[in-house]
Amino acid sequence: MNAINVLEKAGGGSEWAVEASGLVKTFGGNRAVDGVSLNVRAGSIYGVLGPNGAGKTTTIRMLATLLKPDGGSARIFGHDVIRESQIVRQLIGVTGQYASVDESLSATENLIIFSRLLGLGRAESRRKAAELLEEFGLTEAAKRPLKNFSGGMRRRLDLAASLIAQPPLIFLDEPTTGLDPRTRAQMWETIRRLVNTGSTVLLTTQYLDEADQLADRIAVIDRGTVVAEGTVDELKGSVGSSSLHLRVQDQTATGEARRIVERVLQATSSVSSEAGKITAPMADADRVTDLLVALRESGIRLAEISVQKPTLDEVFLTITGRGAQEEPAPDKQASTRNQEVAL
């Protein structure tokens, strides 16, 4: 119901909150975003998943009119981000990676100023600020300067500031990076409630479980391009529902063990050079029994074995195929590993 309202307000009548095609942004010689296309259906949560430097933030900044694309086009509820930027700004709320609130002012003052800028009257701004502070559990800290705020409180205030105008589309750039688990869960709860009121949410994240928890559809971005797109289930299906981590006692048997793993699980595995740990996606956790039998028959002794939920690393390895070649050169492998660590 509400989502339909929003679309009428937006005047586009389109079911798409975001339509981006071939977005390009170059910084010097570095193509930070290299042809990103995204379609986000109104009323859904869309996750953009990728490591640091993949181009997530740059993409969001272009969609939020903060950065001019060097190529491609994007529309928000049917309005072009370049030609109709001022309309687009009336339809969006942006919560950045670093809290975009005024450090030198109090929480109340921040919200009142943003409310006034959005055209609310004096009394109305005051009421709105109090209401949002209450909702985000910041009432007690309302008068204190932000300098003494914790990271979580800042993020909450930041999100509150994005909701003043109740925009139909909200961009959240890594909303939970650096938050403790409890605050993180609170943030997720808030994001879910937002969508229940009819808003569309586009969020970026480095964590697969966050995308898993929240997003209806996910785009995986790497080196400025979308390398995979689909529902959470589709994406997970490509990685396997869980992943196997295995280390053998005798390092020289690693190659042999890897071949067995790949044969039994019918998946490509990867191996970390320093620890000799083999990692492989697993569609069915029950296969691990077959694998153990096969390993025992070949006389390979295990140092360590575990079955875990897939991590972003593995999604990446599987989707980009990087690090999953047969015998990559050791130095190249090491650098891939470093990249994974940096994820």
């Binding site: 969006i92 100023i113 800028l117 105008a165 009121t197």
Partner: protein, 270 residues
């Protein structure tokens, strides 16, 4: 959470901000600037100490040598030191703008449907409070040292407004440096290089007739000299001359040139 997501209920979306909205947004941003000053009063040190120290120093150092005694130097030096102090203060506007823009909150301002000029105009407007403090203190120091302007209080007030307005106009130049410079300290550096010759190669501190001809030529075309003369005319004789006109026109030209290019540069920055 309220279950409605209307943007501006009933209003149609427009791609332009009206002039009225721009003014309102700028005033809100100025209010933000005032709140910031109230939260961090220590940033007012320069505008409180500089007028007191400079006025004392220059008057007692130069007074006897230039005008015979301190009292008769006051009508010359107070307008000069006023212009010099207040305009130097406007450099801080650029420096603080640079520091401010590095903060995340400017990202939010950019993503809001507000006039693009508002974050800049608001900051500059709020800083007129600084110029006012410097102006009042300079005149106050003059009064304490025995300066009794013949023009009367009304003309002193007009002179004060003139200096505040011109400093606001000139602060657009430093705002421009603030927007294009990489760091706050480089803003300070560039601005000092521009301002130092302008304020000292003028008639602010000494009569010009002992200067070499080429320097007199520069001093005569220096807009600071015109502003100083305009202030002297107002406070000392209550007269309004051509210098006042030149000062106002100059200020208007500065705003007309620098406001648009500053906003453009601000928009281009990421």
């Amino acid at each position: 959470m309220k279950s409605k997501t209307a943007v501006h209920p009933g209003a149609r979306l427009k791609n332009r901000t009206s002039f009225g909205q721009s003014v309102r947004h700028s005033l809100t941003m100025a209010y933000r600037g005032l709140l910031k000053i109230r939260r961090t009063p220590e940033q007012l040190f320069d505008v409180t100490l500089q007028p007191i120290i400079f006025t004392l120093m220059f008057t007692y150092i130069f007074g006897g040598a230039i005008s015979g005694d301190v009292i008769s130097y006051l009508p010359v030096i107070i307008p000069g030191i006023l212009v010099q102090t207040v305009i130097t203060t406007s450099i801080v506007t650029g420096v603080q703008l640079r520091e401010d823009m590095d903060k995340g909150v400017f990202d939010r301002f950019k993503s809001l449907p507000i006039a693009r000029i508002a974050p800049l105009a608001g900051a500059l407007l709020a800083d007129t409070i600084r110029y006012t403090i410097a102006t009042v203190l300079t005149f106050g120091m003059g009064y304490v040292m025995g300066f009794r302007p013949d023009g009367g209080l009304g003309h002193v007030a007009i002179a004060a407004l003139l200096v505040i307005f011109c400093s606001w106009a000139i602060s657009w130049i430093f705002a421009f440096f603030g927007v294009i410079a990489r760091t706050a300290s480089s803003v300070q550096g560039i601005s000092m290089i521009v301002l130092f010759p302008l304020t000292f190669l003028s008639n602010a501190f000494v009569p010009t007739d002992t200067m070499p001809n080429w320097l007199q030529w520069f001093v005569d075309i220096n807009p600071i000299s015109h502003l100083v003369t305009a202030v002297r005319d107002l406070v000392n004789s209550g007269s309004v001359g051509w210098d006042l006109g030149i000062s106002l026109i100059g200020a208007a030209v500065i705003v007309a040139v620098f406001a648009p290019i500053t906003v453009r540069a601000y928009m281009r920055r990421t």
